[in-house]
Symmetry: C2
DNA sequence: GAAATAGTGTCTATGAGACAGTATATA
DNA sequence: TATATACTGTCTCATAGACACTATTTC
């Protein structure tokens, strides 16, 4: 059977960049510059570049850098959304990736015009099936967050257990007991202490021990 | 930007049909009829049919029926595998789905020539990146199996707790305490008793209570 | 009644949440 | 010294595994 016997489906990639801002889980949206839906806020995405990209994961990382200036972020494949109606241009399949933007990178990102950081609950009414994608990304991160090091990737490289604790609470959307959190997190053994202390940014009192993710550690396979 | 400015990637779908045979987790492979790799055993797959398929999940269900005669099976998207080297025909993306074939359907399936049921551990050396796909499917089912109703879909509609227990052990590849299994499984509340008893097929003694999955129940979202 | 599988009851170890208490910095 | 956050210790309750026990059928 000839592979071009039928009309072909178009392949694209969309990225759901998640971050925390003002103690809320947020998604980064971009003003669309071209049709369809020019001018509307939507997820960052693009077509695969055959000569350059070695995988759809490469495409995701490339559009993140080119369209939002985000580099070296944690990127993971979410799911592929497909069908004749999700894009007015015709039958498409979009491989969706979510990524976690550390707090420190967010200020640099916001310098770019046309980018917006929106709480995930308020990112509705988006074009294409981007509402579904955002919801799926949040659901995935919540599901994995309960037993993974994933929320730590929303923090700068060095952080305190208090900050990490608050991050887990924001991501999971529920209160977490502090003492059991400390126990669990040190048992999981994906953190390492940094010799030297740290102060909280606000008018804090006692400084806390700084930690970082153990280099190269991840519970998850990074296959795209 | 014109959407056909670049050479386009080809979109296809592959399916990993899992089942249990002789107390082992197995995958169904098919002899390839066309190039590349004609005559080799590989996963079932095909191109999206633009006019017919309403999603890649539809493509998965269609090729399952057309190429292996499997209908009404549990199908779930696994991951999308992409790149310039995975298929000798060029840059492709394959959306992989796994499905769970109940024991009762397997005999019908095997009537078809060119189909083979192979223990997952022995399904190696496959063409394309099908080794990776099989491994990813097994890993996903094992991961989800620990807290889901998913292994029950490898059994006929009616089954005993003993059979279900053995199925979980086979899927997870480890011994599971029987009394805690019974406790957990009834608490999870996705089974319902069937009034009337059941005998084990072998030279069994006491018959056991028959159960079925509560209609419509699934812990998981079935988004494609 | 013997055998074999089905199903139940109970003890114990582990782990998480609740919460009180201690420690160490700033102002 | 007052205070706010960092961190620790202990109690209790829930849950899972171990395992012994009972139940019901076939042969």
């Amino acid at each position: 059977m000839d592979k071009h016997e039928f009309e072909r489906a178009d392949l694209m990639v969309d990225v759901i960049p998640l971050t925390i801002m003002e103690d809320r889980l947020c998604v980064v949206l971009a003003d669309r510059v071209s049709e369809p839906y020019a001018g509307r806020r939507a997820l960052i995405g693009g077509y695969v570049h055959i000569p350059d990209d070695r995988s759809c994961g490469d495409t995701a990382r490339r559009v993140l850098e080119q369209k939002a200036g985000m580099r070296d972020v944690y990127v993971e494949q979410l799911s592929t959304f497909s069908g004749p109606d999700r894009d007015p241009r015709g039958w498409t399949a979009s491989v969706a990736y979510y990524c976690l933007i550390p707090l420190t990178s967010i200020e640099d990102v916001l310098i770019r015009p046309g980018l917006h950081v929106v709480p995930v609950g308020e990112a509705t009414g988006l074009p294409f099936d981007h509402d579904t994608m955002v919801a799926a990304a949040v659901s995935r991160v919540r599901g994995k967050g309960a037993y993974s090091d994933l929320p730590a990737r929303l923090l700068p490289q060095e952080f305190s257990l208090g900050e990490l604790h608050r991050t887990y609470e924001i991501v999971l959307g529920e209160r977490i007991d502090e003492s059991s959190f400390r126990r669990k997190i040190v048992e999981r053994d994906f953190l390492e202490q940094i010799d030297g202390l740290m102060k909280t940014v606000e008018g804090a009192k006692r400084p806390s021990q700084a930690y970082r993710l153990r280099p190269g550690f991840s519970i998850f396979d990074r296959r795209f």
